[in-house]
């Protein structure tokens, strides 16, 4: 009968809530209890260096173009040897949504996400990070990658010295 079904339904509901009342809460008491994020957690962004200690970023603007909220800006510059770098590099963390698209777009692995999620500030202007704030001394997630060893022909090393490069061939010596 439908009345008994109704009563059974209501009683079941009361049972469910009673069981949850006795269950351990899932709450994490934040400032005292901190959860340890996974290594690939997407939070504060850093600019890394290559294994030789040089800045990885070549100021290609790809991260800036990929960013859906337009919070990355920079100015490209060139060193005497032809290697590019960012004269200034700025991320506005008050707009960043930590989507990770910038890190995905970066061809040099310069821009990377770290699991440090505690970057709240009292003053919103403090959330604008300049290059000095972003640049770290390490390589981040990939400690062996060096963009100029794979690409950037003739910029930091003579032609043919790259990892996937063969020594240049003198075409005039290529006789049939």
């Amino acid at each position: 009968m439908s009345v008994f079904d109704d009563i059974k339904g209501i009683a079941t509901g009361f049972g469910v809530t009673l069981r949850h009342m006795l269950r351990r809460p899932v709450t994490i008491q934040y400032p005292e209890q901190k959860r340890v994020p996974y290594p690939r957690f997407r939070a504060r962004i850093v600019l890394t260096r290559d294994p030789d200690g040089d800045e990885r970023c070549v100021a290609c603007y790809l991260c800036s173009a990929a960013c859906p909220v337009d919070c990355i800006s920079m100015q490209a510059a060139q060193r005497a040897d032809g290697r590019r770098y960012a004269a200034w590099f700025r991320i506005n963390f008050s707009r960043c949504i930590f989507c990770g698209l910038c890190a995905e777009a970066c061809p040099t692995l310069a821009i990377q996400m770290t699991p440090d999620y505690e970057i709240c500030k009292r003053n919103i202007m403090d959330l604008v990070y300049e290059k000095e704030d972003l640049l770290i001394d390490g390589c981040g997630k990939d400690s062996s990658y060096n963009f100029y060893k794979h690409s950037g022909i003739g910029v930091t090393q003579p032609r043919g010295a790259g990892l996937e490069e063969k020594p240049p061939v003198d075409v005039r010596s290529l006789m049939p």
């Binding site: 209501i10 809530t17 949850h20 009342m21 809460p25 709450t27």
Partner: protein
């Protein structure tokens, strides 16, 4: 000191203690509700202010007192200010007829543990519980807001749906106790509480008092999903606080009444009578909170359907059956 001054002093002390106890209990009921609801939802609830969050009611009070006391420009100011009091005061007044313990004897003076032993205590309760809805209706009307008005009207519609079944469900209690006095009703349950004779009346009464204190599943006049906050949408600060505390005083008072009518009042083995009364009342309070965490809100036509087509006929049948049984037994 003459005997009467001592009596008056004892009475005043009793009055003050009851008032204080109810207000404190109501404040802590708000806290308890937030904690229990949190547990139901696998959360912890407020636990920051003081040990275990026990000072939270104090923090709430400070917050409510320091909020702006806002009166809408087009509101009817007098009624607007009057309505919260009209909602809270009847709730406190009802408690005056509830016996919450065995009569004490202090310094040769008999002190009954209730404020006023009216011989029509039950009717007093029914009358005041109807007055309480004026607070809702007037508050809704005076705010000059659509949502408030709808809430107030719903409050009235709700009143006429449950009030009848509530009154009728108490008739068998009166028939069994042969008195309208709450003291006599408690005395009549010295051996067996009425819930064993009248389970149906108890259930009808329980459903009706849930509607009376406007709690989920019958919080139709508030209905925050539909009406913002219903009749107290426009209220802020301590005026809102009065509506709010009135609701919780209502829970305590109605729990006390259900205890008195069906669970044998302060009667109980081993523990002191006042403690028994407190335990039984708090069980009802807990049940109300538990119910809030469990059931969804009814539509108001569903409430009327329930009240008029189910509870009222059942209560009438119950009265007939009780009368028949009493005649057959005598």
């Amino acid at each position: 000191m003459t005997a009467s001054t001592v009596d008056i002093a004892l009475f005043a002390a009793k009055l003050g203690m009851v008032f204080l106890a109810i207000l404190t209990l109501a404040a802590y009921l708000v806290f308890a509700e937030r904690r229990v609801l949190a547990w139901i939802q696998d959360r912890k609830g407020p636990n920051r202010v003081g040990p275990l969050g026990l000072l939270q009611p104090l923090a709430d009070l400070v917050k409510l007192l320091t909020k702006e006391d806002f009166i809408p420009a087009a509101a009817d100011k007098w009624l607007f200010c009057l309505a919260p009091a009209m909602a809270a005061i009847p709730a406190i007044l009802i408690f005056s007829v509830i016996p919450f313990g065995k009569p004490l004897t202090i310094a040769g003076h008999q002190v009954p543990l209730l404020i006023a032993d009216l011989n029509v205590g039950l009717l007093f309760f029914l009358a005041l519980s109807s007055i309480a809805v004026y607070g809702v209706a007037i508050g809704g009307w005076a705010s000059n807001s659509k949502y408030s008005l709808l809430g107030g009207i719903r409050g009235l519609a709700q009143l006429i749906s449950y009030e009848l079944s509530m009154g009728l469900s108490l008739v068998p209690v009166v028939m069994l106790a042969r008195s309208f006095s709450l003291t006599a009703i408690v005395d009549a349950q010295a051996r067996i509480p009425f819930i064993l004779y009248q389970p149906l009346a108890f259930i009808i009464f329980l459903i009706s008092i849930t509607a009376e204190c406007k709690r989920i599943p019958f919080d139709i006049p508030e209905a925050e999903g539909e009406l913002v906050a219903g009749f107290h949408t426009e209220y802020s600060g301590m005026r809102f606080g009065l509506f709010f505390v009135g609701e919780y005083i209502n829970i305590i008072v109605l729990g006390g009444l259900a205890t008195t009518f069906f669970l044998g009042g302060w009667h109980g083995p081993v523990l002191a009578p006042v403690i028994w009364f407190g335990i039984k009342t708090l069980v009802f309070a807990f049940f109300f909170i538990w119910m809030r965490g469990t059931l969804p809100r009814l539509r108001y036509d569903q409430l009327m359907h329930l009240g008029w087509k189910l509870l009222t006929p059942l209560a009438l049948l119950n009265i007939l059956a009780t009368g028949w049984w009493l005649v057959a037994a005598s």
